[in-house]
Point group: C2
Chain length 188, copies 2
């Protein structure tokens, strides 16, 4: 199916933009699925920085990467993604965000509007021209509504001369389907 | 650039879904660019039905198709797209809509919410499973606002068990950038 869901859209964008040898970021490591995807795309000459504030996320992801034989490409960082500029160099090709709480994890530990937007601003600065940030906004049930609104409001204010911002929304679904966002740095 | 504009998104979707030998529809012929694209995609064994209410559109498009040597694949129909079911058989792979007036044409002759939505409903019925309708909504300046609102409201009400509806919006741009919509018939 061409139009399946927002996560598939974000993966599609990432697969098209990320090349062997690139430096990229998983801003929300979680269970490490996006980190693993990125490691495969950048290959042995590339580099993935992956962030999470929960030790459990790093432990699970480390195991996943080791089993796939790609540990050497990835730096796992136990810190908030709003501190991305302390770890990641300029000129990155892509940054992936999955907003919300860790699937099957503690709903009280989730990304928050304030730190997410700070991380987005810093990521936009670090992007190379033509690079992309993908955001999958999960919300619904007991959480995520305030962050969703804040992020959607913020991205409307991004300078259109420097960045192109696309929002992809499955508008006829029930139960708060995730929203996909892509921020692309315009080539000069 | 990955994220250029809504027209590019609609073309991208069409190129991925339409195959040689398919039957497809250009619901808004205009200058014939989408008709030509579709003819190339379906090839000699395929069929394109293309609608416009303006004779000038048919004349320009006929010339364009003849020069490209693909006239035989295309049926040009001088009628409103809301009458699609009088001409087009069941089981079509894709339908393309570009809403608004003819570029460089008379702004008073434009698609209208009422007939557009009737054409969308009939197109959805005619689609094969897995088939797609793309809509590029042009608005701004002196026209198109009412149609845009009506179409965006209507598509939210489409049965999510039968169709997936995606809206792609460039949210940080000025001057009313066109909106891309895709309606996909879910495979049973």
């Amino acid at each position: 199916m061409l139009l399946s869901n927002s996560l598939a859209i974000s993966h599609e964008i990432i697969k098209r933009v990320v090349k062997q040898g690139d430096t990229v970021v998983d801003a929300t490591m979680g269970n490490g699925n996006d980190t693993l995807l990125l490691a495969g795309l950048v290959g042995e000459k590339g580099k993935v920085y992956s962030f999470d504030i929960q030790e459990a996320a790093l432990k699970n992801t480390e195991k996943k990467l080791r089993e796939a034989g790609v540990s050497g490409i990835v730096e796992l960082i136990c810190d908030g993604h709003q501190n991305i500029d302390n770890y990641v160099p300029n000129g990155i090709r892509a940054v992936m965000f999955n907003l919300g709480y860790l699937p099957k994890g503690d709903h009280s530990i989730a990304t928050k509007a304030c730190t997410t937007i700070e991380a987005l601003k810093k990521s936009m600065e670090l992007l190379m021209d033509g690079g992309d940030i993908t955001i999958v906004i999960y919300y619904g049930g007991d959480s995520g509504f305030e962050e969703k609104e804040s992020v959607l409001e913020y991205i409307k204010t991004i300078d259109c001369k420097k960045y192109s911002v696309l929002v992809c929304d499955f508008v006829n679904q029930i139960n708060c389907p995730p929203i996909a966002v892509c921020i692309e740095k315009i080539r000069k």
